[in-house]
């Protein structure tokens, strides 16, 4: 169960990198600031929220929707891991 790629940091990072790279048409290093580099617009950020929720079966609510959580592949991976962990902790 723990080896499901959707629940490991590496698997999540790879899936997010693939999605973002395809949409912006460029390679995206995990630490690259997507907003500062202009790769991600506000509109695409909204798409990212919806995509992460669907791809990883998480709900991103309230303060978790802040821009910093979507700033880089690494930040998004951490967010998904944290929300996934919270889901498992409640015994889902």
């Amino acid at each position: 169960m723990n080896q499901d790629p959707a629940t490991t940091a590496e698997g999540i990072a790879q899936a997010i990198t693939a999605f973002v790279s395809k949409r912006v048409g460029a390679d995206v290093p995990a630490d690259q600031d997507l907003f500062e580099s202009g790769l991600v617009s506000s509109l695409f950020a909204m798409e990212l929220v919806v995509h992460l929720e669907q791809a990883f079966s998480v709900q991103i609510l309230g303060d978790d929707l802040k821009r910093d959580n979507f700033r880089s592949v690494r930040a998004m991976t951490a967010l998904v891991l944290r929300l996934n962990g919270a889901g498992h902790a409640t015994g889902a």
Binding site: R23, V24, G25, G38, S41, S42, L43, F44, A45, M46, V49, G62, D63, L65, K66, R67, F70
Partner: protein
């Protein structure tokens, strides 16, 4: 019978002995009565779309409509030899209209029966009733706005835009830039009030409070120097989108309260909500005030919350909150932002008023 008096959004016309007098393929020559020409332009000005379902040679019939000077009034014409019920259904599907909002006029009882049999929700009229059509309640919308008068042009621009997007290869921001979007944000005038009201009724999905403002509510606020009622319109190289956004702002010393932000669902894919917020944040930064946005979660406005949060609004406490009167409705959250100057969007050109001073 409520269904029977709801407004018709699209009227589908037969051609031979309905729109024009004569049978094109037999008589060669056909005549468009002045009264029918007037009816077509009248329905168009009321915002009722019109289309064609005719059994005819397509090229010949369309050429004749052009020669008669009325071709531009018809969207998505279906001219061919298939059943008319198929034509009517395709037109409704492509417009995204429920069949109960579509009407069909034909002089042939058999054609009306065929449409009625397969599509019982479609309202069918004998061509003999054309003289009374404009006076019927289902063809008489209560409010006719600037945008309803241009509705057909907006749909036609929409079709051209859609096919351009289908052909476009590459990142969607590049596609947005290729549209040459121009957004205008201005203070609402008396004339625009009906247009604004229509917007608050139609945009439940992107309405940040779920509160509906009637035109008399808004008229009262226009006269109030503390309030800004702002209307946003959008155009691109294909034509107008019409009024797509409404902001209602109450200015206090040190803090501006955004009481309503509504945008049309049609322009969500252009990022119009985020652009509006970005502009407002920039205005507040230059005026040196904090921003507090009212938000009431509904089942359909999640994208609006995401737009607020991504723009930097939070639940954080701030002294400025104390200076605001209680929200008009219960369960309204107030999201707070300390504004910083915000660069204009890369995907569209803005033409705006300044909110400072006043």
């Amino acid at each position: 019978m409520a269904e029977q008096t709801s407004i018709v959004k699209c009227l589908v016309w037969d051609l031979d002995n309905t729109l024009w007098q004569g049978t094109l393929l037999e008589d060669g020559d056909v005549r468009l009565p002045d009264s029918v020409r007037e009816l077509v332009t009248e329905l168009d000005s009321r915002g009722i779309l019109q289309s064609v379902a005719s059994k005819n040679d397509h090229d010949q019939a369309w050429k004749r409509l052009e020669a008669l000077g009325v071709a531009e009034y018809f969207v998505l014409p279906r001219i061919g030899w298939g059943p008319k019920s198929d034509s009517v259904r395709e037109i409704a599907d492509e417009l995204g209209f429920a069949l109960g909002t579509v009407a069909f006029v034909d002089d042939q009882p058999a054609e009306r029966a065929e449409v009625r049999f397969h599509l019982p929700e479609v309202r069918c009229y004998d061509a003999g009733r054309l003289p009374e059509l404009a006076a019927l309640p289902e063809f008489s919308p209560v409010t006719v706005t600037v945008d309803s008068r241009r509705r057909r042009q907006m749909y036609q621009a929409g079709f051209r835009r859609k096919s351009a997007e289908a052909e476009f290869q590459g990142p969607s921001d590049d596609f947005l830039r290729s549209l040459e979007l121009q957004m205008r944000i201005g203070r609402a005038t008396e004339d625009e009030l009906s247009r604004v009201e229509e917007l608050t009724l139609r945009t439940s999905q992107m309405n940040a409070t779920g509160v509906h403002y009637s035109s008399s509510d808004l008229r009262a606020l226009l006269a109030d120097p503390r309030h800004e009622v702002l209307v946003t319109t959008l155009t691109d190289r294909f034509g107008p989108h019409g009024a797509v956004g409404l902001q209602l702002l109450e200015k206090h010393a040190g803090v501006w309260n955004l009481k309503l932000l509504a945008t049309s669902c049609r322009v969500v894919s252009f990022g119009a909500g985020s652009v509006l917020l970005g502009w407002l944040v920039d205005q507040a930064a230059h005026a040196g005030v904090h921003l507090v946005a009212d938000f009431r979660r509904t089942e359909r406005n999640r994208m609006m919350e995401i737009a607020y949060r991504l723009a930097g609004f939070t639940d954080e406490p701030c002294d400025c909150r104390a200076g605001l009167p209680e929200p008009a409705q219960e369960d309204v959250q107030r999201l707070h932002l300390l504004p910083a100057p915000c660069a204009p969007p890369p995907t569209m050109k803005l033409h705006t008023v300044s909110l400072e001073g006043v």
